[in-house]
């Protein structure tokens, strides 16, 4: 992503602060939210920064349902929008996530995961919302879920989240955990123009010809923002290419398949992973978020002791990066999946592994991060 090698501005920032930097770089001009630990810094910094930008609007809403509602409204009016929350708020947002999928509204939702269920562990890390991010809203739908494991990545992945949201006209969920969000680190702020910033496609035809949900080669119809003279109808009911409600099986089928296809056919572009010493790995680790950092240190230490270990850090969680994980499973004798839940990503690993190699899980749900020593111990036991 980064190209220029000039001396860039460095700041010592929290993961949550880096998310805001990323959002502003990506062109976010609208934020609506409701405070919740451990995501609140994102909201507080947005409250201070956005009103000082020419177009920026910040809103505190009465709850997370309203926050996502307002964000979708602003997105329909042409803005790049974001909201951030944690478990309880993310649960409240689910209906509107489905709405955003259905009307194909580009937006970014950051969920800084904390221990659950319910109020759970407000200040402790967890990765318990992974499958909820994928399947939390009702009905069949494609969605993009990203994650970040360090502060620089918080910035980068936020930019990517916006870009993917715009490119594929879809909500994108960025899953962070409390450790990543609340760690301070030195990061580089990219120079203007250093990152490619994508914008949603807008109609190139006059209003009389425009069909708001017509299929295109990419499967992504252009969006006419509210007030641009196109006077479209937007509805959460299943709709025909004109955007009007339909119950005709042929129209429903076409619409649903296009929605899946617009993501499916770009897996290569969407599925991001980071590989570390995987070429000759006999033991593979698949991790994401802050746990991937523990895993990296464990891999380094294990290599010093002669174990051939490699690590795949998932930056995209969904659509699940099958090709990379399958390749690792083919060469490794065993795959370890450490995560701060009872086994949510390991389900995906087992699914694509399809019995080819042994998959062992390392799970922790006590509000503590999985340490490098724990992973190292599992490596030596394999």
């Amino acid at each position: 992503m980064a190209q220029a090698k000039k001396k860039r501005t460095e700041i010592f920032a929290l993961g949550n602060e880096a998310v805001v930097e990323g959002a502003l770089i990506a062109g976010c001009t609208f934020y609506a939210g409701y405070p919740i630990t451990p995501s609140s810094e994102i909201m507080e910094i947005m409250a201070a920064r956005l009103p000082r930008t020419p177009e920026g609007v910040f809103l505190q809403m009465e709850d997370e349902i309203g926050s996502l509602g307002a964000a979708i409204g602003a997105s329909l009016a042409g803005r790049k929008v974001m909201t951030a929350t944690s478990g309880p708020g993310f649960s409240l947002m689910q209906e509107h996530i489905g709405y955003a999928c259905m009307v194909e509204s580009p937006l970014v939702i950051v969920n800084v995961m904390r221990g659950g269920p319910s109020t759970g562990l407000p200040t402790s890390p967890s990765q318990g919302d992974v499958q909820q991010a994928r399947w939390g809203t009702h009905g069949d739908h494609p969605i993009i879920v990203l994650s970040a494991s360090d502060v620089q990545e918080c910035l980068e992945m936020t930019v990517r989240a916006f870009n993917m949201a715009e490119k594929y006209r879809t909500p994108v969920i960025l899953l962070l955990d409390e450790v990543t969000a609340h760690t301070r680190e030195k990061i580089f702020l990219p120079e203007p123009g250093e990152y490619e910033i994508l914008e949603r496609a807008v109609p190139s035809v006059p209003p009389e010809w425009f069909k708001p949900y017509e299929d295109t080669a990419r499967g992504v119809p252009p969006v006419a923002p509210i007030g641009a003279g196109y006077r479209t109808h937007i509805t959460g009911l299943t709709h025909d290419p004109m955007g009007y409600p339909t119950q005709r099986p042929d129209e429903i089928n076409t619409a649903m398949h296009r929605m899946f296809r617009k993501i499916d056919q770009f897996f290569d572009d969407i599925q991001l992973v980071d590989e570390f010493l995987t070429e000759d790995a006999e033991i593979g680790i698949v991790a994401y978020g802050s746990v991937a950092r523990s895993a990296r240190l464990a891999v380094t230490k294990a290599r010093e002791r002669g174990y051939k270990v490699g690590l795949i850090t998932l930056k995209t969680l969904f659509p699940f990066p099958k090709p990379s994980v399958v390749a690792l499973a083919r060469k490794a004798k065993c795959i370890l999946v450490p995560e701060m839940n009872m086994g949510q990503m390991s389900r995906e690993v087992k699914r694509v592994n399809n019995g080819a190699t042994r998959v062992r899980t390392i799970n922790r749900v006590d509000g503590s991060i999985i340490t490098p020593s724990e992973i190292l111990k599992s490596i030596t036991q394999v």
Binding site: E10, T123, T183, R184, E185, K186, S290, R296, T371
Partner: protein
Amino acid sequence: MSKKAKMQELNRFELRLSGLGGQGIITLGKILGTALALGHGYYVTQTQSYGPEARGGSSRADLVISSHPISYPKTENLDLLVALSQEACNAYYRYLKPNGVLMVDTSMVANTPTNVYKGLPFTTLAKDKIGLVQTLNILVLGAVTHLLPFAGQRRMKKAVEQALPPKIQEINIKAFNLGHREAAKHFGDAPAVWLEAEEMADAEEDTEHV
């Protein structure tokens, strides 16, 4: 432009600042982290206690400092534990490495778990010598700066100035200097294991233009 002196090589130096809420521990952690990351050019991760833990009266900030990118951001085995309360001292002493250093505020910590420690009455000094107990954290920063062979005084002070509002900068710099002086007088040098490159840090300090 200054000639870039070589930094002391560090491989995960782990440090914990701990004590009571209201002692300015988080600010201390942020300033120390900022100075080491931006001023000195180290890789630094800083984490801290949040929420109920932070509100229940205790406070904690952890730093990992390294010459190389840091994978695991939290501390596992401490090289330096700064304890500004008895509770913190009791709770965290066991996380020290065998050669790790314990530094305490002797006006707050009556019983240390070991005889080998570096102690100064920071709170009393802040109250009596500076006349403002809130400068406690920066006083501690001065002492820590003396102890860390890879930390440069001038860059620390610059970070203090950048972090604090102008009105209270002067008094805090005074506190920093006092902390540094007192530590030099009573603590002696940094432990041998940390020392290797003290000269280099000094050399670097000399060539720097602020």
